[in-house]
């Protein structure tokens, strides 16, 4: 349950039985051939995996390297989130759970959870900050179309962190027949490990796809954005032990790292505990958790997954960041050069292409974690496209 000094299970006793049940069963369930078959089958026929590895020629020309995009945006529901929710719903079924709860920020994980609950015929409740409900109306509608209840989180800053709090509270209040599907590699053990394993299909595919395209499994760089960090965890997973592969995690710098409106956790955070996990965390000197800011609703989490904290501390991954402005321009650039409108989260990863000095034959894989349809309103306003 630990990555170096990070991770663990700092949960209230009320959640101990649920945590213990998960910890004791998740690896066994995941190793079961029936589970594997069902999981792989749904990833293939329902999610649409493998997601392509696409050589972006015009982007490559511009940044003078061989740039591949791992197309998680093409997954069902439009982001990598579904890899994890498919996995967890199958775990929940095997644990005999009848109800599912989840938190969501921008609504992508909420949609991915509502989706798998519809598929499995399980009751679904999604907690979402009252403010996010108002500004992410289309995703709220998607969840309702899928039969989920969306419950507003009215405490705190009424965004992702508070939705997570509410989901945990809901679990405390209904511990027995309920499973909580966390959307990122955050929270207490075994969540960071379980979610990373479900997302590891990303780098698993990258390896054989790169082998097909380039004759080598290993790129020179893997670049991914990090909020909680699930897409990065999946993209890094099978490269962690190979020091030749440079791992680049990109955080949201908001209006500038030192502007007071940022989500660059690795720079601004200190070691602390959030949602049951010891990690790097944006907080006051007094240990109160600070609400981060980013134009992207999926990156404004005040912490980072414990494994990422470890990768940062050990320097195995390089942590860069991109401001709102840099991300928006990178999103527009990809749209115009490659015909792919990325999620604003993903656009942060693209924004560091200009900050790295590549060699011409460097192979770079950017994890294109999600599509930008959900962000059109933000793009429209920002670039005045209406």
């Amino acid at each position: 349950g630990y990555y170096g000094e990070f991770g663990g299970s700092f949960v209230p006793e009320m959640l101990y039985p649920n945590m213990e049940e998960l910890q004791e069963n998740y690896l066994e369930i995941m190793a079961d051939p029936d589970f594997k078959k069902e999981f792989q089958g749904l990833l293939k026929d329902y999610v649409g995996r493998p997601s392509p590895l696409y050589l972006a020629e015009r982007l490559s020309d511009k940044y003078k390297a061989k740039i591949y995009l791992k197309r998680e945006d093409l997954n069902h529901t439009g982001a990598h989130k579904i890899n994890n929710t498919i996995g967890q719903i199958l775990v929940a079924k095997r644990l005999g759970k009848k109800r599912i709860i989840a938190e969501t920020g921008a609504g992508q994980h909420g949609v991915a959870t509502a989706t798998v609950c519809a598929l499995a015929g399980l009751d679904c409740t999604v907690y979402m900050g009252e403010i996010d409900i108002a500004r992410q109306a289309p995703n709220v509608a998607r969840m309702k179309m899928l039969g989920a209840r969306v419950v507003p989180a009215t405490s705190g800053s009424k965004t992702l962190k508070d939705a997570t709090n509410e989901a945990i509270r809901a679990w405390i209040n209904n511990p027995v027949d309920t499973h909580y599907i966390i959307g990122s590699v955050v929270g207490f053990h075994p969540y960071p490990d379980m979610v990373a394993r479900f997302q590891s299909v990303i780098s698993e595919e990258m390896k054989w796809q790169l082998k097909e395209h380039e004759g080598t499994e290993n790129p020179n760089y893997v670049i991914a954005c990090v909020g909680g960090g699930s897409n990065a965890a999946g993209a890094f997973y099978h490269y962690l032990d190979d020091e030749n592969v440079k791992l680049v995690a990109v955080e949201a710098a908001g209006k500038g790292v030192n502007s007071g409106e940022s989500a660059a956790t690795s720079i601004l955070g200190k070691i602390g505990i959030i949602h049951g996990s010891k990690t790097i965390l944006m907080q006051t000197a007094d240990g109160q958790i600070v609400e981060p800011y980013s134009i992207s609703a999926g990156l404004d989490y005040p912490g980072v997954g414990p494994q990422h904290a470890h990768l940062f501390q050990t320097r195995r991954a390089e942590f860069l960041n991109a401001t709102d402005d840099e991300a928006m321009e990178a999103g527009l650039e990809l749209s115009k050069l490659e015909g792919i409108i990325p999620a604003i989260e993903t656009a942060h990863a693209l924004a560091v292409l200009s900050k790295i000095s590549f060699k011409p034959d460097d192979i770079v894989v950017i994890n294109l974690s999600g599509r930008g349809d959900k962000d059109l309103n933000t793009y429209i306003k920002y670039f005045n496209l209406a």
């Binding site: 700092f10 949960v11 006793e13 039985p17 405490s155 709090n165 509270r169 907080q283 240990g287 958790i289």
Partner: protein
Amino acid sequence: MNRINQKLKENRKLLSIYFSAGYPELNDTAVIIEKLQKNGVDMIEIGLPFSDPLADGPTIQESSTQALKNGMTSDLLFDQLKNIRKTVEIPLIIMGYFNPILQYGVEKFCEKCAEVGIDGLIIPDLPVDVFHDNYEEVFSKHGLINVFLITPQTSEERIRFIDKISKGFIYMVSSASTTGAKNSFGNVQSAYFERIHAMNLSTPQIVGFGISNKDTFEQATTYARGAIIGSAFVKCLTDQGLNGIDSFIDSLR
């Protein structure tokens, strides 16, 4: 002997009260403590406010948020409590989430607790095993009792373990829930209370969560040594301010 252990020897059902430090007004902390003692309360949990109180329902969440807005901090709490032992005899426990304590420094936090006369800590998100492996020594060194929670879902094996390492009382969470007042307990609670009673634990139990009035206090303490009232008391502070304290406590006995 720690004031908590001493208190647990008294031959009556113990009434313990929780409130959030710095609420309703920043400097109400000491006044409330004194008023509670004057009204015959047996023990007090002083809540150290936290931005993200996972185990709490809306009432205590809101009081924490307001206390933080009022300017509450760990340092300020210790400052407010620095003369408390001149007037207050009953056991005082700080109840708070782990992150503010971790940021303060666990050892330094314990030192300050000892300095102002705190008798114990309840840290809902500090797991038993992490405490046991890392912090037992420093707590002991400063004469602090750490209080562990059990719930209706806690396994017998785990309850036995907690019983073994507990030095004061076990905080027996009445039902699967966050904090918040209920009007009565049902059969499920009774069965749970009986089940724990039948285990013949060596550590006394005090029941918390869902106790709001004389009825629920009596139900909760059928077998247990005492009960803790939190949300109901905080709600009383919200509605009536410090003037409501006397009649609130009075209504419970």
